[in-house]
């Protein structure tokens, strides 16, 4: 069987859309599961959905990462019934900060940075972004800042773990024909 060039890129685009939708759905699922899980302290979250953001960033580039993250936050909040609640804005702030920093790191460092590094930076940015937003819209109390080092440390741990999982996921996907050669495609897509 042979494909024309146009057909091949059409197929590629369709495949890409389907996978992005799938990743977003997975991210929403992880997000929801995580909220349902008991947590030792209210502000502590595993940030499992970031696994998928990192994976998508490395597979398809920044725009895909933004799409998955924003999609995840909006659909996830709808699902949990807290769209436009303070918690929603905290997630949005944290998520946006995380993707911005991860994208910047990925663009600037190229192949020198791997999923673990990206994930860690993302988690730290998430913590910082949430903190700033919590300060801005919720509590203007100095005690908030005593929480920050703990939050940062916790985010570092979850960042390493999530990065490791993303790395394994990427290794597995790379072996699959649907993603063959895509690890660099992300870079190509974005450089346009």
């Amino acid at each position: 069987m042979t494909f024309s060039v146009a057909e091949s890129s059409d197929l590629e685009r369709a495949r890409r859309r389907i996978f992005l939708a799938l990743f977003t759905a997975l991210a929403v699922a992880l997000n929801t599961v995580e909220v349902l899980l008991p947590s030792p302290v209210p502000w502590f979250r595993l940030g499992l959905a970031n696994i998928l953001t990192v994976t998508v960033l490395l597979l398809y580039g920044p725009r895909a990462a933004w799409a998955v993250t924003l999609g995840r936050i909006i659909v996830g909040s709808l699902l949990l019934g807290r769209l436009f609640s303070p918690g929603f804005f905290l997630s949005l702030g944290g998520g946006a900060a995380a993707v911005a920093v991860m994208t910047a790191a990925w663009k600037l460092c190229g192949a020198r940075i791997g999923p673990v590094g990206i994930s860690c930076l993302g988690a730290a940015a998430h913590a910082a972004g949430q903190m700033l937003l919590a300060w801005a819209i919720l509590v203007r109390h100095d005690a908030l800042w005593q929480l920050f080092p703990l939050l940062l440390l916790a985010s570092l741990v979850t960042g390493v773990l999530n990065g490791a999982v993303a790395d394994m996921l990427l290794e597995t996907l790379k072996g699959h024909p649907a993603f063959a050669g895509l690890r660099d495609a992300g870079r190509k897509n974005s450089s346009r």
């Binding site: 910047a104 790191a105 600037l108 460092c109 190229g110 910082a128 800042w145």
Partner: protein
């Protein structure tokens, strides 16, 4: 990509610098807190998120309180209260002293003598503010009360007349409130929109706390470390009179500083009385009067005035609270 390494270093450094500046560098939100010993107590003025020039206004507020103290203290060369005490006949005083006495006489009348500004001789007799307080003999008390009563002072414009030439004037239960009002006035006129003037627990709050009303803790009359209640209020004065503030013990009896002008002995119907009013002078006088009158008559007295509320702990510990405070109170 040649500069990427540079940017990697620059980005977090810039973010860190921005964070540190934002966290520690913003100086505009400093609050001003000043304390001075005035009117026999510690006066504290707090201005949160103070605009520049506030410290100067706070200093002027303290100076104003000192001026009022000199004017209304029971003795001293500059005191108009002392001048009234010394006067044989009618005497001309400043408009402020006349205003304070007129307000005090209104409270004295409405309380049926539960409030009296002519207790100078009685207070000297008990010596409760001195190092050697004592329980006077009944006949001494009766003689010190001669000439006192709900009509013992009269004002006509700025003229003050005593009904009995021997009457010794003591404005202690109202002058502190008036001084607080004056300090608050100075702050307001200087553009301060949020502040607390706290004279040893008698206070005036200006504006709110920013995002919420001021939360005013009320001292528990029997447990020094505990709160009786917390009131959420804006733009009011709050004065508490309690039997725990000043007292001495003699022969196993406790004698406190809030005398019933009708008997000459410490009033026994209440443990503490908190009054919330538009002015601190009124709150001060009413707190003393309602403390003396006790739960029923005391709270009825407060109803005679508009925008005045109260919280009273009776001698047996029962708590009475006026209608208007019920939505603003929190119990611990």
């Amino acid at each position: 990509m040649r500069y990427s390494r540079f940017f990697i270093l620059l980005l977090p450094a810039a973010a860190l610098a921005a964070f540190l500046f934002w966290r520690f560098g913003a100086a505009g939100e400093e609050s001003v807190v000043r304390r001075q010993f005035l009117m026999g107590t510690l006066v504290e003025i707090t201005v949160p998120a103070a605009p520049s020039g506030t410290a100067d206004a706070v200093d002027r507020a303290f100076a104003e309180m000192r001026r009022v103290e000199e004017l209304m203290r029971p003795d001293g060369p500059g005191s108009e209260a002392a001048a009234i005490t010394a006067a044989e006949g009618p005497i001309e005083v400043g408009s402020e002293t006349a205003e304070v006495i007129a307000l005090g006489m209104k409270v004295a009348r409405l309380s049926g003598g539960g409030f009296d500004m002519g207790l100078g001789r009685l207070k000297t007799l008990w010596g409760i503010e001195t190092e050697h307080p004592r329980v006077p003999k009944p006949e001494e008390i009766l003689s010190a009360l001669e000439g006192t009563g709900p009509e013992d002072l009269m004002t006509d414009g700025n003229r003050v007349l005593k009904s009995d030439p021997r009457l010794a004037v003591d404005l202690g239960a109202i002058a502190k409130g008036f001084a607080i009002d004056r300090a608050a006035e100075i702050l307001r006129n200087s553009g301060v929109t949020r502040a607390v003037v706290n004279a040893g627990g008698d206070l005036c709050v200006i504006g709110d706390r920013g995002d919420r009303p001021w939360r005013i803790g009320i001292q528990h009359p029997r447990d020094p470390g505990a709160l009786l209640a917390t009131l959420s209020l804006e733009n009011v004065s709050v004065v508490t009179s309690g039997d725990y503030e000043r007292f001495f013990e003699a022969q196993g009896q406790r004698y406190h500083h809030l005398f019933d002008p009708r008997t000459g002995y410490p009033a026994g119907l209440a443990q503490s009385m908190t009054v919330v009013a538009p002015s601190a002078a009124l709150a001060d006088a009413l707190a003393t009067a309602a403390f003396v009158l006790g739960p029923e008559q005391g709270l009825a007295l407060l109803k005679e005035f508009s925008q005045v509320e109260g919280l009273l702990v009776a001698a047996d510990g029962t708590i009475f609270i006026s209608e208007g405070l019920r939505e603003k109170v929190e119990w611990p």
